[in-house]
Amino acid sequence: MRSPFRRRGLVAATALALGGALFGAVPAASAETIPGFSFSKCPALPAGADPELWMCNVAVINGGHLDLGSMVQNITSPITLTYAVGFDGETGEQTVLVGALESEKFKVIDGIFGDPFFTAVYAKPEYAGFMDLQGGDILINLKFKLSNPKLGSSCYVGSNGDPIKLRMIFGTTNPPAPNQPISGEFPTEVSLDPLVYKATIVDNSFAVPQARNCGLLGLGSLNWAVDLYAGLPSRAGNSAAVFKQYLHSKTYAEMGS
């Protein structure tokens, strides 16, 4: 059961971050409004890496929604994920490095305790230490930092050790009940020079852990309140991420590395 209190901001932020990882885009001559892309946050190449076999990707998620348990957040401001992907020419082993996950904080609720002025809660998505790309699926771990005067400065949903594990796909999901299958949109080119893709990636099979370190001094005294409000922890089949994104990519050789 979803909580009667729905928070769209938190969910949206997470969704944006994920979507950004998948695709990148660049302004084009089409009617499509394409976001700008910066490669300034591309991670440094590992020692000995071949620049021809490494690519930096900038994904901007600027639409969709993210539902974490009972919190529902529409993505209304961009989330940008910058990541590098490369492989060893001899072994074929792939490596993914995340340079940055950039996002504004999203208002999750006007007042988590019913007070729209002093208890409004904001959530900001953060990278939780793992990302991979597997045959068209985008895997990324996220956590959300919740901010509010009463929740302290270390209140999170998810952590590096117990993250929200998203596996975003372009196709149709097969989630556990009560969720029903949802479909993404395959990538399409919205600009050829520079090459920019647009796509929608989805996942509604992930679980959401309970809140942690919420309350005075980060001691967790208000974890219960966040959990109660957000319906956490939430088993798989009760949450969803839908990220509409643009992606633009360059090889490190193209960037002059």
Binding site: L22, L53, A59, V85, F87, G92, L192, S249
Partner: protein, 230 residues
């Protein structure tokens, strides 16, 4: 994009094996083991394990094409000169996006290259190179990337000044790549092909692909082993 690149490399690798020319630095003789004499004629190069071609697709990571069957025919002369790649076939190719891949090679025969007897302790007996840049090389790959709903058509060649190299091993070499195979062998290890201009190319083609595979090398006809000697 990477998908196409991956495919192209295996093809190139095969081509390298077939081409043979004498090297100036070292004396090289290709010997037919059945006669003990220098061999002039065709050789059949077939895969021992899978041939894998890898490239990068925008935003989606590596595209890996795995081909279960690779065969090529090349003409060689005993001193390694005037070699040519006459035929290339890569079949049974799938990719890691749940689809099939088809690879074809145009502009055959390819000429230009060399075979060098250059033994390395614990390693090869020599190597084969295909000269680069080589305007004739054109490897076409059609990648059906099912899980992302895309089909990429890509052409690859040798456009840099880095030659394509295949390490060669005599059948008596205890360090040959596949000791369970008793024949003379070749190994393609991380060799690169570059995307070449072609109106067929689709936007998602990898700019560079690498190829890896291990092959046996026998005379054709005859099926005799060959030895690379000084």
């Amino acid at each position: 994009m990477r998908r196409l690149s991956r495919i192209a490399l295996p093809v190139l690798g095969a081509g390298v094996l077939t081409l043979g020319t004498a090297t100036a630095a070292l004396a090289t003789t290709i010997v037919d083991d059945s006669t003990g004499l220098g061999y002039n004629g065709d050789v059949a190069v077939t895969n021992i394990n899978n041939t894998v071609i890898t490239g990068l697709g925008p935003g989606i990571g590596s595209i890996s094409v795995t081909c279960t069957s690779a065969a090529l025919t090349a003409g060689v002369v005993a001193n390694g000169s005037s070699g040519s790649l006459k035929a290339v076939s890569l079949t049974g190719c799938t990719n890691n996006y749940g689809g099939s891949t088809t690879i074809s090679v145009s502009n055959l025969p390819y000429t230009g290259g060399s075979v060098t007897h250059d033994p390395v302790a614990g390693g090869r007996d020599g190597y084969l190179t295909i000269d680069a840049p080589n305007a004739g090389v054109d490897v076409r790959a059609v990648l059906n990337l099912t899980s992302i709903g895309k089909t990429e058509i890509c052409h690859y060649g040798l456009t840099t000044t880095t030659d394509l190299v295949i390490d060669l091993y005599n059948k008596t070499n205890a360090n040959r790549p596949v000791t369970g195979n008793s024949h003379s062998q070749g190994a393609l290890t991380g060799e690169k092909l570059q995307k070449i201009s072609n109106p067929e190319n689709t936007p998602g083609c990898p700019s560079t692909v690498t190829a890896n595979g291990k092959y046996q090398v026998l005379t054709s006809p005859g099926g005799n082993d060959l030895t690379l000697a000084p």
